[in-house]
C-alpha cells in the first residue's frame, strides 16, 4: 500500500505490512500520531506502540493492546482498523474528539511480534511468546499468565509445554516486561484494555481470586454499557463479568496486574466468533468485528473521560 488510504483493512497482514502501516500513519498525521518503541522482543524484533495525542504533558491516558496471543489474528487486524479510525474520527466525531482533546491513547497493535511472525512462517496456531525455557524443548510462555498478579497460582500451568505456561518468573517475558515498565514510567494511565479473540466476552478483574474487585459494581456497569453499544451495530451478543466468574480461574493475567497498579478501568475483550471458525475467522469478518468493538471501546473511553479519578 502507498498510503493508509489504499491499505486494505479487509485482509490479514504480515508483521512487516503492519509495521509499514504504522509508519505511513505517522507520516500522514504527524501532529496526531507518533510511534514509540517500548522494547525489543526475545528474538530482537522492535515492539512499537502508537501514541495518539493532541498535546499537553503526560495527559491521563488510555491503553489498548491487540495480539498478545499471536494466533488471534482478528485482534491485530482490528488494531490496525482502530488506528485508522482514530485519525478519521478526530475532528469529525464530536464525542471522540472530546476524548482525544482530554486524554492520550496508546495503541499496541502487535503485542507479541515473535509469536505473530511465527504464525505466518511456521505455525498459524501459535499462541505464546517464543522464549526458550532452560531444560525444556518446549518454547514460549503464555503472555497472559506472566504478569505479577497471582503469578503461578491455580489458573496457569507450570509446564513449559502447556499453552498456558506462566513462564519462569513474573515478567520473564520481555514483551510483558516492556509494557510493565511503560505503564510504571507513564504513571497516568487511567484505562487499560487488552484485546483477545474469540468467545464474545468483556471481562474485568479478578481472574486469579474469587473475591470481587473493590470497583466491581462500577466495572460491571461500564461493561454492560460497552456490550450494549457493541450489540447495537450487528446484534453481536457479548457476555460480561469478572474473569473467574465468567470463564475460569486465570492467574497472572494482564488486567489483574493493571488493576493492582490502580488502573481502575481495566478490561479484557474476547472478540466475536461466528461459532464456526475459532481463531480462523474469515477476513470478511475483520471490519464488522472492528466496527462493533470500536463502539464498545468508545463507550469505555467516554466513561473514563467523564469519571476522572
Amino acid at each position: 500500500a502507498r498510503s493508509t488510504g489504499t491499505f486494505s483493512y479487509a485482509t490479514y497482514h504480515t508483521l512487516e505490512e503492519i509495521y509499514d502501516f504504522m509508519d505511513m500513519l505517522v507520516v500522514e498525521h504527524p501532529q496526531l500520531v507518533s510511534k514509540l518503541q517500548i522494547g525489543n522482543t526475545y528474538e530482537g524484533r522492535p515492539i512499537y506502540v502508537l501514541k495518539f495525542s493532541t498535546g499537553g504533558n503526560n495527559r491521563p491516558a488510555i491503553w489498548i493492546d491487540t495480539g498478545i496471543h499471536s494466533r488471534e489474528w482478528v485482534t491485530q487486524a482490528s488494531g490496525v482498523w482502530f488506528a485508522k479510525k482514530i485519525t478519521e474520527d478526530y475532528g469529525q466525531d464530536p464525542a471522540f474528539t472530546a476524548i482525544l482533546d482530554t486524554m492520550d491513547i496508546f495503541l499496541e497493535i502487535v503485542t507479541n511480534p515473535d509469536g505473530f511472525a511465527f504464525t505466518h512462517s511456521k505455525n498459524r496456531l501459535w499462541r505464546k511468546t517464543r522464549s526458550i525455557t532452560p531444560g525444556s524443548s518446549c518454547v514460549g510462555a503464555d503472555p497472559n499468565r506472566n504478569w505479577d498478579a497471582g503469578f503461578g497460582m491455580a489458573g496457569a500451568s507450570g509446564n513449559p509445554c502447556s499453552e498456558t505456561y506462566h513462564g519462569q518468573f513474573a515478567n520473564s517475558e520481555v514483551e510483558v516486561k516492556s509494557i510493565v515498565d511503560f505503564v510504571k514510567d507513564h504513571g497516568n494511565i487511567k484505562a487499560f484494555i487488552s484485546i483477545h479473540s474469540y468467545s464474545q466476552l468483556l471481562l474485568y478483574p479478578y481472574g486469579y481470586k474469587t473475591e470481587p474487585a473493590p470497583d466491581q459494581n462500577e466495572l460491571d456497569r461500564v461493561a454492560k454499557s460497552a456490550v450494549t453499544a457493541l450489540a447495537s451495530l450487528y446484534g453481536t451478543k457479548f457476555t460480561y463479568g469478572s474473569i473467574i466468574k465468567t470463564i475460569y480461574q486465570a492467574s497472572g493475567s494482564t488486567v489483574d496486574w493493571t488493576y493492582s497498579q490502580g488502573i481502575k478501568y481495566s478490561f479484557t475483550f474476547e472478540l466475536r466468533d461466528t461459532g464456526r471458525y475459532g481463531f480462523l475467522l474469515p477476513a470478511s469478518q475483520i471490519i464488522p468485528s472492528a466496527q462493533e468493538t470500536w463502539l464498545a471501546l468508545q463507550a469505555i473511553m467516554e466513561y473514563t473521560v467523564t469519571h476522572p479519578y
Binding site: 486494505s8 505455525n123 498459524r124 499453552e163 498456558t164 475460569y248 475459532g278 480462523l280 474469515p282
Partner: protein, 94 residues
C-alpha cells in the same frame, strides 16, 4: 510450515460439573497433544479443542463413553488454513 491435515476442532458441551471435570482430565493427557481454544469452564459453556488426527478416535470414544455431547466445529483445520492463505495471496496479487 506446521501441517494440520486431519486435525478437527470439537465443541464440547458439558452439562454438569462432573462432565466438566472429565473434560479437564482430557486436558491433563499430554500425549493426546490437545490444544484447548476455549478451555473447560463451567457447565453450559462450550469448550473448543483442536484434536490432532492421531488422537481423534480416542477423544471421541472418551467423550461418547461418558455421555458428553460434542459437535465438530471445524472438520479439517488445514482446509481452513489453506483458504486463509489463498485469500491473503489473492489479495496481495490483486
Amino acid at each position: 510450515k506446521e501441517n494440520f491435515v486431519g486435525h478437527q476442532v470439537l465443541q464440547i458441551s458439558a452439562v454438569d460439573e462432573a462432565q466438566v471435570q472429565k473434560v479437564k482430565q482430557l486436558e491433563e493427557l499430554e500425549h493426546l497433544q490437545l490444544d484447548f481454544w476455549r478451555g473447560p469452564a463451567q457447565p453450559g459453556s462450550a469448550t473448543d479443542v483442536r484434536v490432532p488426527f492421531t488422537s481423534l478416535q480416542a477423544v471421541k470414544i472418551f467423550l461418547e463413553a461418558h455421555g458428553i455431547r460434542y459437535r465438530i466445529l471445524i472438520e479439517n483445520v488445514q482446509a481452513l488454513l489453506d483458504e486463509e492463505q489463498e485469500q491473503m495471496f489473492a489479495f496481495q496479487s490483486r
